[in-house]
């Protein structure tokens, strides 16, 4: 089958690829571009490990066809650190032991980033709601919720 072109901005840099029509964004990111931060947990929309941010919205890359992202701006967890300095969410996840096996972490961080971008001072309830599409089999969620609240506080202190 003829390949189709896709181009989008990934973590600030332009990407252009020829792909098989119908390939999911998750597969293009991981197998073509080599960004393995989004994880393929279920490929069914249920685990959230593949979450990425497309044009400011949280999406599941396993259910998104790459061709529908032409011209889009995509952020993944691997694009968050700046010049070797971790993003406040990444820092908080480490500091509060919100990462065990780490498989859910990039998806959790994407969901949390969208929340903090819109709601810089979230309540615990806001955090639970924002993470409700992401499954973690290790931590029991509490450390993750604390990490997001910690990152929000760190952001507001930096802004003050």
């Amino acid at each position: 089958m003829a390949k189709v072109p896709v181009q989008f901005t990934l973590n600030g840099s332009e990407k252009a690829e020829f792909i098989d029509s119908g390939t999911t964004l998750l597969n293009v990111l991981r197998d073509k571009i080599g960004d393995t931060s989004p994880k393929g947990g279920c490929h069914q929309g249920t685990c959230g490990a593949c979450s990425v941010i497309i044009d400011g919205e949280l999406r599941l890359s396993c259910l998104t066809l790459a061709e529908t992202c032409n011209g889009a701006t995509i952020t993944t967890t691997s694009g968050l650190a700046e010049g070797g300095v971790l993003h406040p969410l990444q820092r908080a996840f480490l500091d509060t032991f919100a990462t065990q096996c780490g498989f859910c972490t990039p998806g959790m961080i994407m969901a949390a980033k969208v929340l903090l971008d819109h709601t810089p001072d979230p309540s615990r309830e806001d955090v639970v709601e924002a993470l409700s599409g992401n499954i973690c089999r290790c931590t029991g969620y509490e450390p993750i919720i604390q990490a997001v609240l910690t990152a929000a506080r760190a952001n507001s202190q930096n802004a003050a």
Partner: protein, 262 residues
């Protein structure tokens, strides 16, 4: 096997492309791409249209028209859609809501279809290029429906009540869902009732016997008793890992009662 995707600027061209065997329309993809990932090879081609009319929400006077490509997230944050936003918020988690469309929800098999349920209680009209169909007729015949749904339209009803019962909160698959639109006369008696049930069949259905039993009654324990007794009439609840048909049938009157009295 790969799914070939074809994108068209107009609904007309997309409808033509959908005529070939093995093709399906692509909404948000939360069901159709999921099925492909799971190994469903019955679909070999996907078709979509980027016509901006499919993404429009129009509210004017008491009338609402929502384009088929509008997502649950957009409805949930729309300031003028009132309790309908509750039904949109009941669908999946945040990422699913950013993808799941109105058009796709009309085709979602139980336990899904929470939004279509609210549209059924609102007695919405489903619009395609071929014409307009009342949602009840549309849902009953959806397995044979080939034309792209362009929008749904309905008269706004602030009295819409919606309840989704799930075990996991805030996001969980439905044990059952109920949407009700009631009109009451000046003396408080029910003058018209539409009750839609989710998970009580393979798709959203109306509880016609319960609706009839509510007419002329007041919304109190005694007034609703006959409606609750008739709530399950004609239903065929699904059995899935969330609940058995038996359980769903048992708890339906309890939850309907709470929604009517709440």
């Amino acid at each position: 096997m790969a799914l070939a995707l074809q994108t068209f600027a107009t609904v007309k061209d997309a409808n033509t492309a959908l005529k070939s065997a093995g093709t399906r329309y692509l909404g948000g993809g939360t069901l159709v791409v999921r099925a492909a990932n799971e190994g469903d090879v019955s679909v070999s081609g996907l078709v979509r249209s980027t016509d901006p009319a499919l993404s429009a929400i129009e509210v004017s006077g008491g009338k609402v028209r929502i384009g088929a490509s509008v997502t649950m997230a957009r409805i949930a944050r729309h300031p003028e859609l009132g309790s309908l936003a509750m039904a949109a918020r009941a669908v999946g988690g945040p990422a699913v809501r950013n993808m799941a469309t109105v058009g796709g929800n009309l085709f979602a098999p139980a336990p899904y279809g929470d939004f279509a349920l609210a549209l059924l209680a609102l007695d919405a009209t489903v619009n395609t290029d071929e014409g307009q169909t009342p949602i009840e007729t549309f849902l009953a015949g959806r397995d044979d429906s080939r034309a792209i749904v362009t929008s749904v339209s309905f008269t706004k009803a602030d009295s819409l009540r919606f309840l989704k019962v799930s075990r996991v909160k805030p996001k969980g698959i439905s044990v059952l869902s109920i949407a009700v639109v009631l009109e009451q006369a000046a003396d408080g008696t029910v003058s018209s009732a539409r009750i839609a049930l989710g998970c009580m069949a393979d798709r959203p259905v109306r509880a016609k016997a319960a609706e009839k039993a509510l007419l002329g009654k007041t919304l109190g324990q005694d007034g609703i008793a006959a409606a609750l007794a008739a709530a399950g009439e004609g239903t065929a609840p699904i059995t899935d890992p969330i609940a058995s048909a038996w359980y769903r049938a048992e708890v339906l009157p309890v939850h309907l009662g709470r929604l009517l009295l709440g």
